[in-house]
Symmetry: C2
Subunit: 270 residues, 2 copies
Amino acid sequence: MKPAYVLASSDSSARPKRNLKLEIEYDGSNYSGWQIQNHQRSPEARRRTKKTIQQVLEKTLKEILQQEIKVISSGRTDAGVHALAQVVNFYTDSNIAHEKLQLALNSLLPHDIVITKIEDAPLFFHSRFSAKSKVYRYTILNRKYSSALLRNTTYFFPHFLDVVLMRKEAKVLLGRHDFKSFQATEKKERTTVRTVRKISIKKDKDFIFIEIEADGFLYNMVRNIVGTLIEIARGKLPPESMKRILLSKNRIYAGPIAPSHGLCLVKVKY
Amino acid sequence: MKPAYVLASSDSSARPKRNLKLEIEYDGSNYSGWQIQNHQRSPEARRRTKKTIQQVLEKTLKEILQQEIKVISSGRTDAGVHALAQVVNFYTDSNIAHEKLQLALNSLLPHDIVITKIEDAPLFFHSRFSAKSKVYRYTILNRKYSSALLRNTTYFFPHFLDVVLMRKEAKVLLGRHDFKSFQATEKKERTTVRTVRKISIKKDKDFIFIEIEADGFLYNMVRNIVGTLIEIARGKLPPESMKRILLSKNRIYAGPIAPSHGLCLVKVKY
């Protein structure tokens, strides 16, 4: 594999001076996600859609650094999905100090995108390829009424959920498996095998937090897993369904996809 | 004093059947506050302003109960101020069950207003006059960068704040005092004496939570107190300023008003 800066630089003969690594918090509510896959959309559909977080970030970086910047992220997030610490890197010859760049970015970026950390990384560092694992958190508000203040960051679900059963069923996902059953049907990844390192399901008052750490995630994987866990926990799918669905390697057996606004990328580990 | 239902009913000869008490959570970001004081505004200004929470609630209640409803709240909140548990009551002859009314309200109200509780109260219960005390919480995010996800519910303040000093200075506010120094200048209350029962200032990671409980609050009182505490805690006002400002009974000595979006009405006690 070529070093990351070769993949990213428009002039591959020039070795860039710096590889800057940024951590970003964002509220995905007002965006079409991290990046649109333009080849999937007609020009008309592209005009209709909202901005992407990547577009806004690259435009702001260009404004500050006075050069075209192409950022590499740890991975895309869907429309409505949030991040506490998305990681990106980009190459630049600018000498700008971390603190100065962070202040400039945060004063020019809209309030729903915040740069929480900037550091220099080795030139070979690549936000996606260097990542060892990623942690996503899904938050369910499980009570009779919604929350006005948390409406964009929790999935309000008013029916009873058996959290103990949810925990038991989720265990079969741990380890290295083919997660094809939980991949968005329109996607065709080379391999659908991933390793789930950790799943924790915590209940705190009316909230249920589902945290999943894996070496990588298929498109919609977390939301499809959560949607399936909800179907089991409310009694719409029988116990041991998770095992059966995982082994089926067929999306049609899994539950419906859980809404995007309950999902948050909380950590990328390197 | 006349019983509350006489004050509220348009036909004071009719004794209403029920006095319903509601608890409401709302995100104040998209509203002109709980209620606009219309007499202060020109017709043109009124057209320009956003809706109030009271307007939206009364319109929705009318739609469900098929009668004009006038709600009584525990007190107004300003534009941008939030509530976890605002309390209102209103009189009705409807026999509607609590759960049915709550479901109907929450499905018709916008997502930033949520009814969290409904119960029958004695006819003499009045959300404002019956209240023993109210608790407000002001949240400061005290670090170098803002938060994308909490931008509407915390006041981002990047400079150092001495929380120990803040706590010490706040103590002089405890008890029964004339809080005229912290009242919005345009306001003329009959009496500006209030009793502050409790002040707690907690630091948790990058957050500073200032909670104030009092038997009543003057217009802008919490925000003016917080603004003053910030000026002291950042060293712009000398120690013991709080005592001096309180005794001065003059708004011009207090600090600038803190922004509304950091403020939340968390509890009304009866």
